[in-house]
């Protein structure tokens, strides 16, 4: 797999979120996959320090199934758009680590929320395809007072 393949994988990952194709997005995660939005800059501890989100496949499944039910807070529904920078890609023993600055907008009704940060993916090779072992989202304003963020960054 070339760097171009890995970049394409990341672009597609974001596009699945933007198109609300959550089941296909979920399938990109490895069995031990984790979606992590730290609360502190440079945070390393997920156990005894809290996070904005820290979700294994069980919690991701919960979030997705809830969104599909159309909960109260999704009347009207939210929509999102990722705008991505070309990722930096480094090889690891069993896959790749990538670093990708992004802009993210989430709208609901008349309100739009902007977030900016970097996404760091730990990708692992499974059956000759990349799978997400960790998607870490470093928000530029991770420690700010934030309103509801309802979709996946």
């Amino acid at each position: 797999m070339t760097d171009a393949d890995i970049a394409r994988f990341l672009y597609r990952e974001a596009r699945l979120l933007d198109e609300r194709r959550w089941d296909e997005w979920f399938a990109l995660f490895s069995e031990d996959g984790l979606y992590w939005v730290p609360l502190a800059r440079g945070q390393t501890d997920r156990e005894t320090h809290t996070s904005l989100a820290c979700e294994d496949r069980l919690l991701l499944r919960l979030r997705i199934e809830r969104l599909k039910r159309g909960p109260p807070s999704q009347q009207p529904p939210s929509f999102c758009q990722h705008v991505l920078q070309v990722p930096e890609i480094a090889a690891t023993p069993d896959g790749w680590r990538t670093h990708m600055p992004f802009c993210y907008a989430e709208v609901r009704g008349d309100a739009m929320l902007w977030l900016i940060g970097t996404a760091e993916h730990d990708l692992v090779r499974v059956d000759d395809a990349p799978r997400i072992r960790l998607k870490r989202i470093n928000l530029l304003n991770c420690d700010a007072a934030l309103p509801s963020i309802q979709l996946f960054i």
Binding site: V37, L39, A40, E47, T48, H49, T50, S51, L52, A53, C54, L58, L59, R61, L62, R63, E65, R66, R69, G70, P71, P72, S73, Q75, D143, A144, A145, L146, P147, S148, I149, Q150
Partner: protein
């Protein structure tokens, strides 16, 4: 001056025994009066002593509309000062926490202050010699506010007049005791970071909701109900992830919440979960229970561990979850804007699993990304917008109202009663109207 400022009767008329007028949530004048009368004359939560362990450590926040700073003094005590330079009013500390060394120093004209707020030095002080400066409040430096604490929980009262600390909280302090005593050495430490969630709704909607046990079944069906479904069919002895253990009970029945019970006390304080709560069935940790028995004796340890109050409201600024050692701090910003800051604690001397549990709970429930929080927050906003509708200006608080609850000081009733909300508004009305009378004297 608006409609309410000089008119205690108009404020009194906003509350019936079983309903409240929409202006309490919508009116900017009421909000400003709340800051002056309720938030300044009552005891507002500032922070926890463990946030300022060493001399010179500070933690800055706002109480109502005012910036304050909590500082560890040279003598080891904690004081709360107004975060304002005595000269031209610049805020003296502008980061949430840090260490001052031995002085505050204003970045503007370099006035400096001792940790107790008194002036240490003013450059070229002789410029004030022939002035009236020494007769002003500024000569005393940073103004201190009344500070009191209970087991490390520091509160302040901005106004010189108002109730004493013990008189204000009374028996409600027992929820802090039970929370702290879950540490075998009787000590908590703030740990795990603070979640800061902006709400576009009035602060009272949040506070009322903490003892609103009729909403989880409806508002949280999509999160707790889904968690329940995802876990359904797993063998009974399958190890339960903390997230499942913590989320599923939100989907408990009306009957469950009714039997939980609610207790109300004077000055707006209350707690749900008198008998048991959604925190009752977390996995046992035998080595910890042994340590608790060793520390407190069998009977008291049983009492501490068996007390699993759901939410205690320290009206108006703090809500406490003792069984899971997390607190939510209410910071009103505008009639339709409120910041909720949620902290977790490490029970000192207890195994790490408890901090992990508390931190997990805080994230699952109190984060701006929480699937539980989203639906609560959304419902508050719906009220904020819906109350603009005319025709009926009253918000119903009738559920389980009985005339004879009026005038009683300490009551425990079925958990789905709206008595806690009525109790909050009775305190609200008292402070909001007493305030008017005091200002006029």
């Amino acid at each position: 001056m608006g409609h309410y400022h000089d008119n205690p009767a108009a404020i009194r008329a906003l509350l019936r025994s079983d309903a409240v007028h929409r202006d309490v949530y919508l009116d900017p004048e009421i909000f400003a009066l709340e800051m002056q009368r309720l938030w300044a004359r009552t005891w507002i939560y500032v922070g926890h002593a463990s946030q300022v362990p060493n001399i010179g450590d500070y933690y800055a926040t706002t109480l109502g509309a005012e910036p304050v700073v909590m500082v560890r003094q040279e003598d080891g005590r904690v004081r709360v000062l107004r975060n304002r330079c005595a000269h031209k009013g610049a805020k003296l500390v502008n980061t949430p926490a840090g260490n001052l060394g031995r002085f505050f120093r204003c970045p503007y004209h370099a006035w400096s202050y001792h940790l107790d707020g008194s002036i240490a030095a003013i450059p070229k002080r002789d410029g004030y010699t022939h002035t009236r400066f020494n007769e002003t409040k500024a000569a005393a430096g940073m103004a201190a506010v009344h500070t009191a604490g209970h087991r490390g929980f520091i509160f302040a009262r901005l106004s010189d007049d108002g109730p004493t600390f013990d008189g204000y909280f009374g028996a409600a302090l027992s929820s802090i005791d039970y929370m702290v005593d879950r540490s075998p050495v009787g000590k908590l430490q703030v740990a795990g970071g603070v979640l800061r969630y902006l709400h576009d709704s009035n602060w009272k909607m949040f506070v009322e909701n903490l003892n609103d046990t009729m909403h989880p079944m409806a508002a949280h069906a999509s999160s707790a109900g889904t968690a329940k479904q995802l876990w359904a069919g797993k063998p009974a002895d399958a190890p339960k992830p903390m997230a499942i253990e913590q989320l599923v009970p939100f989907a408990e029945s009306y009957d469950f919440f009714e039997k939980m019970g609610v207790r109300v006390l004077p000055n707006g304080h209350s707690w749900t979960g008198v008998n048991f709560s959604i925190h009752s069935s977390y996995a046992a940790v035998p080595e910890y229970e042994q340590a608790m028995i060793a520390a407190y004796g069998e009977e008291r340890a049983k009492d501490i561990l068996g007390t699993v109050r759901h939410n205690t409201v320290y009206y108006p600024s703090l809500t406490v979850k003792g069984a899971i050692q997390t607190i939510r701090v209410v910071r009103p910003l505008a009639p339709d804007r409120t910041l909720i800051e949620s902290f977790s604690f490490r029970p000192v001397g207890a195994p790490d699993v408890f901090l992990r549990r508390n931190v997990t709970y805080n994230r699952l429930i109190n984060s701006p990304l929480s699937v539980v929080g989203h639906d609560d927050q959304h419902c508050y906003r719906l009220m904020q917008e819906g109350l603009a509708a005319c025709g009926n200006e009253w918000v119903s608080l009738h559920r389980d109202f009985h005339e004879d609850e009026l005038g009683q000081r300490d009551q425990t009733v079925g958990g789905t009663s709206e008595i806690a909300m009525r109790n909050q508004f009775r305190a609200w009305s008292m402070f909001m109207t007493q305030g008017a009378e005091k200002e006029r004297r």
